[in-house]
């Protein structure tokens, strides 16, 4: 299809019936293209690299843009000898950390980038090593413990300014991340994040896996978004191989995804109560979440329905639909009651309102996406704008808010819980009769595909390349946390240190999904 974004003419290649368009571009034309996307109101969703030298090319730089046309998957080929491309962070700030990661993993350099510091690289591999290149060993040599991780944090100077380093080990059992606060008294002047502590080499691990094992690994990129990741991975595999899965399987996948959304939102709403010391809310929401998870255990054999989604369909059918509908009805009443408690509690509202504000203009500038974006008037929801089956027949209502504070993120969560409960009822009632799985065809040659699913945090993307041998050659899972972590640095500004845990929890971003 020929179309144009801004005044750039594009020849877009559709990816079998989905909202993904492929587009090849010379590296020097990238900034102009990115700017055209931006002027049109689009965003950069993901940026990653690939080592294509075994395919007779150099390196590949991949980007996925969100535009009115759909998801534009752009690829630029970079020469093997000097893989460089022009910096995109000046246009889309969210590109900055992704560019730094692409350098740490593959040695693709963004020329002209302002921030050239390392990102995912700590001390596990050397300065001139790039672990994601095909010629890098799959097992890295053991890191020498004497190597110090010298990371130049940006210093804030001034009278009475001091730093509070927090993490990566925290007092609670949570994921590791380092936060460097520059404060005057308790007021935060600047927050700088340092992530990468849970880098496990997932992308390298994918290489050479067969397609079904890949689904299991994809689901473990960030455990709280298991269904989102496995579905996105399977969608990518199915698009790459060009086959369709039975309707019933798609509807069941949507059921699992919405159940995951409800479970996570309930847990977060409880945690948000706990963070303002209202343990009543914590106990109540977690009681409901526990009921929900136990039902999932009964229905799908796993509390978070792990490994139910596989390439070609799903493994488990919905057995006791009545039990699910009963719990959905009970949850709707009880969550509404608890919402009234939160709404009318002066202490809770005082803590939530005006705390950790990311205003709509800033959110648009930073490319904040998903739940956090919708709470700051960034009205993007893949289920609404680019609905893939079965969402094209479910008419999802998007929840948005303009305030951008903790309260807005709480409100969006509540709205999405109710919407997901409605969707679950609709799915159960309209579940088509079909087989659960289709046979996965064999790949003939190198095939590529992109899967996109609106997980509970935001859009989860998985890009897959299947090699000549029918095994995985390159898989890149992208978590919305990549572009939302910087929003936390902005949201805390002007707030006080003791409000940080609350603000952080209101975003509840993934470390594992980001660090890979």
């Amino acid at each position: 299809m020929d179309t144009h974004i801004g005044d750039i003419e594009l020849t877009l290649t559709p990816q079998g019936g989905s909202a993904v368009w492929r587009f090849g571009l010379a590296p020097e034309r990238l900034p102009a293209f990115a700017r055209a996307i931006q002027e049109e109101g689009g965003q950069l969703l993901a940026l990653w690299g690939s080592d294509d030298r075994h395919l007779g090319r150099g390196f590949g730089l991949h980007m996925v843009f969100l535009s009115s046309q759909g998801l534009v998957w752009t690829q630029a080929d970079l020469p093997a000898a000097a893989p460089e491309y022009p910096d995109l962070a000046a246009i889309f700030p969210q590109a900055e950390r992704m560019q730094r990661a692409a350098y740490d993993l593959l040695g693709l350099r963004a020329s002209g980038a302002v921030d050239g510091r390392k990102w995912l690289r700590h001390t596990a591999w050397g300065e001139d090593e790039y672990p994601l290149r095909k010629d890098a060993p799959s097992q890295p040599p053991p890191a020498s413990p004497t190597q110090a991780d010298a990371y130049p944090f940006i210093r804030v100077a001034g009278d009475g300014v001091h730093e509070i380093p927090v993490g990566p080990i925290h007092a609670g059992v949570i994921e590791p991340g380092h936060f460097r606060f520059s404060v005057v008294g308790d007021k935060v002047l600047r927050l700088e994040e340092r992530l990468g502590y849970t880098h496990k080499g997932i992308e390298k691990r994918f290489e050479g896996m067969d397609l079904s094992l890949g689904a299991r690994l994809a689901g473990r990129v960030s455990g709280d978004s298991h269904s989102a990741y496995t579905w996105a991975y399977c969608m990518a595999v199915e698009a790459a191989l060009g086959f369709t899965v039975p309707e019933r399987a798609l509807w069941l996948r949507a059921l699992l995804l919405e159940m995951e959304r409800v479970a996570n939102h309930l847990g977060d709403l409880g945690y948000l109560g706990n963070d303002v010391a209202l343990s009543f809310g914590f106990a109540q929401f977690w009681r409901l979440k526990e009921d929900w998870l136990r039902l999932a255990q009964r229905l799908f054999g796993h509390r978070y329905a792990f490994d139910c989604i596989v390439p070609g369909g799903v493994t488990t059918d919905l057995g006791e639909a009545d039990a699910l509908l009963d719990l959905v009805r009970r949850l709707r009443t009880e969550v509404a009651e608890l919402k009234a408690v939160y709404d009318e509690h002066a202490g809770v509202q005082d803590r939530f309102a005006h705390t950790g504000r990311v205003d709509p203009a800033m959110a648009a500038r930073l490319g904040v996406i998903g739940l956090a974006g919708r709470a700051s008037a960034q009205a993007w929801d893949l289920r609404v704008q680019f609905p893939h089956p079965p969402y094209d027949r479910l008419e999802v209502n998007m929840a948005t808010d303009r305030r951008g504070d903790v309260l807005a993120r709480v409100e969006v969560r509540f709205a999405e819980v109710f919407e997901s409960l409605r969707l679950i009822e609709a799915i159960v009632q309209r579940l088509p009769a079909d087989p659960l799985q289709a046979e996965v065809p064999h790949a003939d040659g190198v095939r590529e595909g992109l899967g996109y699913v609106e997980g509970w945090r935001g859009p989860v993307l998985v890009a897959v390349r299947i090699g000549m041998d029918g095994r995985l050659d390159r898989v890149h899972p992208h978590d919305p946390s990549w572009q939302n972590w910087p929003a936390l640095e902005v949201g805390i500004l002007g707030n006080i240190v003791p409000d940080f845990p609350l603000i952080n929890k209101s975003f509840n971003l993934s470390y594992s999904g980001h660090d890979l």
Binding site: A171, V276, G347, D350
Partner: protein, 314 residues
């Protein structure tokens, strides 16, 4: 005299032994109110035993101050618990049972706590110490005003006289004490690091006040501090009882009134603990910078109590 000394020792030991149970009771009530399965009532004792059996870990930069501070804090709290009339009035320590001295004892413990937190030089220690001082310099005047209101009635700042006047003489209603009682509750929550000022059960190190100061303590040092925290809550509770609900405390030299006094104390503590748990369940923690407003209100109420005394009671 010997019975006096025996009573004094007995009353202090009682505070030492009962204090963790009051803590346990509050935790049990909180769990019940939140619909959780409650921990055992004696859980604080198990914790103390566990901590006393562990090896202490000290920061490299810790000086002797850091090691001695827990004992000084503990000693301050034992002394404070000893001079508040809990069971019987007019004990040998009574001449020392001056409310201003009591405020001084609490301040001494706090100063050592803050110094110890600063001693090791961690970010959280200084953060906690800073916030503790912010709370303290607002809470102390309010606490003193509460005491002054009570002492205006009995014309003395000595606790035995206040108790004697309120409990053992002709019954009278004092509106000024109602104001003072509310102010006292507000100050107590701040001083004991309870909700809505601080959250004793949080794991979020950035939000902590009291807990941030003791993060680096372990084993016997932590046990002393935990015990001192329990003693402080106990002392504040008995102080509240002595000032506002003194009925039941045995008059000077009356041994026969002791069993009843013990029963009354247990009952009052049980009700007080449950009330604290209830307030902690329905309240959220306030934003740190709301604490000055909260304590300012406490001060204002205490002053109103004093004015009421001059308007209505003189």
């Amino acid at each position: 005299m010997t019975t006096g000394i025996a009573l004094q020792i007995g009353q202090t030991l009682l505070a030492l032994v009962l204090a963790p149970m009051l803590m346990g009771w509050v935790n049990v009530c909180r769990a019940w109110l939140q619909g959780r399965v409650a921990p055992p009532l004696l859980q604080p004792y198990y914790n103390l035993r566990k901590l006393f059996h562990k090896d202490a870990v000290l920061a490299h930069d810790a000086t002797r101050l850091f090691r001695f501070a827990p004992y000084i804090i503990f000693a301050c709290m034992v002394l404070a618990a000893g001079i508040v009339p809990t069971l019987a009035n007019d004990l040998p320590f009574s001449p020392a049972a001056d409310v201003i001295a009591l405020v001084g004892l609490f301040a001494l413990a706090r100063v050592f706590q803050a110094l110890a937190a600063l001693d090791i030089g961690t970010a959280f220690g200084s953060l906690g110490a800073r916030r503790e001082m912010l709370i303290a310099f607002l809470a102390e005047p309010a606490l003193l005003m509460v005491f002054f209101t009570a002492s205006l009635i009995s014309q003395s700042t000595e606790l035995p006289h206040i108790v004697d006047r309120l409990a053992h003489q002709e019954f009278a209603l004092y509106p000024s004490l109602a104001f003072a009682a509310v102010a006292f509750w507000m100050v107590s929550t701040a001083e004991n690091a309870r909700i809505p000022v601080d959250n004793p059960t949080t794991h979020l190190e950035l939000t902590m006040i009291h807990e941030a100061m003791v993060l680096e303590y372990s084993a016997r040092h932590l046990a002393m501090i935990e015990w001192a925290v329990a003693l402080k809550l106990f002392t504040y509770s008995t102080l509240g009882i002595a000032l506002f609900l003194p009925w039941g405390i045995a008059p000077a030299g009356d041994l026969n009134a002791l069993p009843l006094a013990l029963l009354a104390l247990a009952l009052k503590l049980a009700i007080g603990g449950a009330a604290l748990a209830l307030l902690e369940t329905v309240n959220a923690k306030m934003r740190l910078f709301r604490a000055p407003e909260f304590l300012g209100t406490a001060f204002l109420l205490a002053v109103l109590g004093m004015l009421t005394h001059f308007l209505l009671e003189v």
